[in-house]
């Protein structure tokens, strides 16, 4: 009974943390635009949080650069369980145009485990909403 309640409350209010690990910013602006009145994401109960300790879902954009690698692992460990990671954009999936550069390791799945991949360069805000809803359906 209690597990059903906690599961329902997790489904109805996923709090997100927006993390940029070296992206060109286009995906970040589209994620922030997904929170603005036209593509409202807050009607799903999603709130944008500032610190990893409050978040359920990490929305990650950008290829993992060498400098950000340790910080990324640290932030992933600071997020309390159960946690999910959404990789947004072609950069976070595999590195986009930056594959082969000396400071880029690849997509973020080389560093932390990822649950949902949202393709696009940059992603449309509609696709971000689609990704979040698909994640909620998986729960």
């Amino acid at each position: 009974m209690l597990t059903k309640l906690t599961r329902w409350s997790r489904l109805k209010s996923p709090w997100i943390l927006h993390l940029n690990t070296g992206a060109c910013n286009a995906c970040d602006i589209e994620v922030v635009a997904a929170l603005t009145p036209r593509f409202d994401l807050e009607r799903f109960g999603v709130l944008l949080k500032a610190t990893p300790r409050h978040a359920d879902v990490i929305i990650c954009t950008g290829p993992a650069t060498r400098q950000m690698k340790d910080r990324l692992i640290r932030i992933y460990e600071q997020t309390p369980d159960p946690k999910f990671v959404i990789a947004v954009g072609a950069c976070a999936m595999s590195g986009c145009v930056y594959r082969g550069a000396y400071n880029v390791i690849g997509g973020i799945d080389q560093v932390i485990p990822v649950d949902v991949y949202v393709p696009g360069c940059p992603v449309r805000p509609d696709a971000v909403i689609d990704g979040v809803v698909k994640l909620l359906n998986k729960l």
Binding site: H18, L19, N20, T21, G22, A23, C24, N25, A26, C27, D28, I29, E30, V32, A33, T36, P37, R38, L48, K49, A50, T51, P52, P63, T65, Q67, M68, R71, I75, C96, V97, Y98, G100, A101, Y102, N103, V104, C121, P122, R124
Partner: protein, 400 residues
């Protein structure tokens, strides 16, 4: 007694990772230091192994907000190297997309400034209107960001009458709403009090630290690449260089709002006088050996690309200096003798686009040397609490 605060790479204020270390004494900042490198992707090295056309798509992804500025700057340089002259209609379309990008970038910045100052409804209203501009860009080029409309020798897509009419109609809506935001942004007492006298940068310092863009123009220096070094069709289009002389964040806001109105006028002129003809000329595969410097006025300041070719179909060296890097030295100067609470606002006022510049604040207690990570959200809440009494606190020396 001095403390040092690190503002680390993950923070909600700016959507990009930078490391900022500020040394504070009480609430007043004594020194600041920037740690770049989180966003460094090694683009200049990658560009040497891709052809001229592939590099257009690479330079586009240096930045998401000013992507057209990097592409145009690069393509202009290559066209001068190959000695091509794109047709007039192509140049008009290129300038049109450039001005639309300037509008969307300034509206983005206004919303972010409102959000940093605590005025969230301003942020939501402005971004709703920004969607009008994104729709126009999508109709013209096919994508909301990363338009991909430039090619060496001209542009890739043409405009038809329906797109022109739709753009002109949206301009009326945008003009009316921008008047409202201008009235709100410059007359609302608490918003103005939050921005006035924050981040002061005098005229001589701005010139000697080589600041660019609205940061420089808000200190009264009328330097604008569109007037000094005209490219595309800016020598035919009438417009004015906007300056302000308050030298603080309020001046930068005023400069950006004035530039919005100039951009509306430029777009109207371009659409009414669009010449007929071809949109591109064919470009050769290889470029002759030589070098070229190309400058462009991006929404954030002067963007400069240096291109060197050695006769093959790949560049020998591509050097990009994005506008935000030029403003870093000025930012450090502005942060000194300010308050911690002003850090998000001063940093947002140069309109940082760190992904352009390179390729969390940690507060270090100077007394004991221990580090404490302070989330930017808490900094912003502190800033909103202390702002009504700002004037008295500016003169007080905290007795620690």
């Amino acid at each position: 007694m001095k403390f040092q605060i690190p503002i680390g790479p993950q923070h909600p204020a700016l959507k990009e990772p930078i490391g900022l270390r500020i040394t504070v004494e009480g609430e007043i900042i004594r020194d600041a230091d920037l740690r770049l490198g989180y966003n460094h992707r090694g683009i200049e090295k990658l560009a040497e192994s891709k052809t001229w056309v592939q590099n257009i798509y690479l330079t586009e992804r240096i930045c998401g907000i000013c992507s057209h500025s990097h592409t145009t700057c690069y393509v202009q340089g290559v066209e001068k190297l190959m000695e091509l002259q794109p047709p007039k209609r192509g140049l008009y379309i290129r300038t049109l997309v450039a001005e639309l990008e300037r509008i969307h970038s300034h509206l983005l910045w206004l919303g972010v400034a409102g959000h940093e100052a605590g005025f969230d409804s301003f942020f939501m209203y402005i971004w709703r209107d920004r969607e009008i501009v994104m729709d126009i860009l999508e109709i013209i080029s096919g994508n909301r960001v990363h338009y991909g409309i430039n090619t060496i020798g001209g542009v890739r897509r043409d405009l038809d009458a329906l797109q022109v009419k739709r753009t002109l109609d949206s301009l009326d809506t945008l003009r009316k709403r921008s008047e409202y935001y201008k009235h709100l942004g410059t007359n609302e007492p608490s918003f103005v009090a939050r921005l006035a006298r924050v981040g002061y940068l005098s005229r001589e310092e701005a010139i000697s630290l080589c600041a660019v863009g609205p940061t420089l123009r808000a200190s009264g220096v009328p330097m604008d690449v569109r007037k000094d070094d005209p490219y595309a069709v800016y020598d035919e289009v009438p417009f004015e260089v906007c300056t302000a002389d308050t030298c603080d964040v309020l001046g930068r806001t005023v400069v950006r709002i004035k530039e919005l109105f100039q951009s509306y006028n430029i777009i109207e002129y371009l659409l009414k006088n669009l010449p007929a003809g071809e949109i591109a000329v064919k470009a050769p595969r290889r470029a002759r050996p030589g070098e070229m410097v190309s400058r462009y006025e991006a929404p954030r300041g002067e963007n400069i690309h240096y291109i060197k070719s050695n006769g093959t179909d790949k560049p020998e060296r591509l050097k990009v200096r994005a506008p935000t890097l030029g403003n870093y030295a000025a930012t450090i100067k502005m942060l000194k003798n300010g308050f911690i609470a002003d850090v998000p606002l001063i940093f947002a006022a140069i309109d940082p686009c760190i992904c352009c510049a390179e390729r969390a604040a940690a507060i270090v207690n100077a007394r004991t040397g221990e580090e404490k990570i302070v989330p930017m959200d808490i900094l912003r809440q502190t800033s909103q609490r202390t702002s009504p009494n700002k004037d008295e606190k500016r003169e007080a020396e905290w007795p620690l």
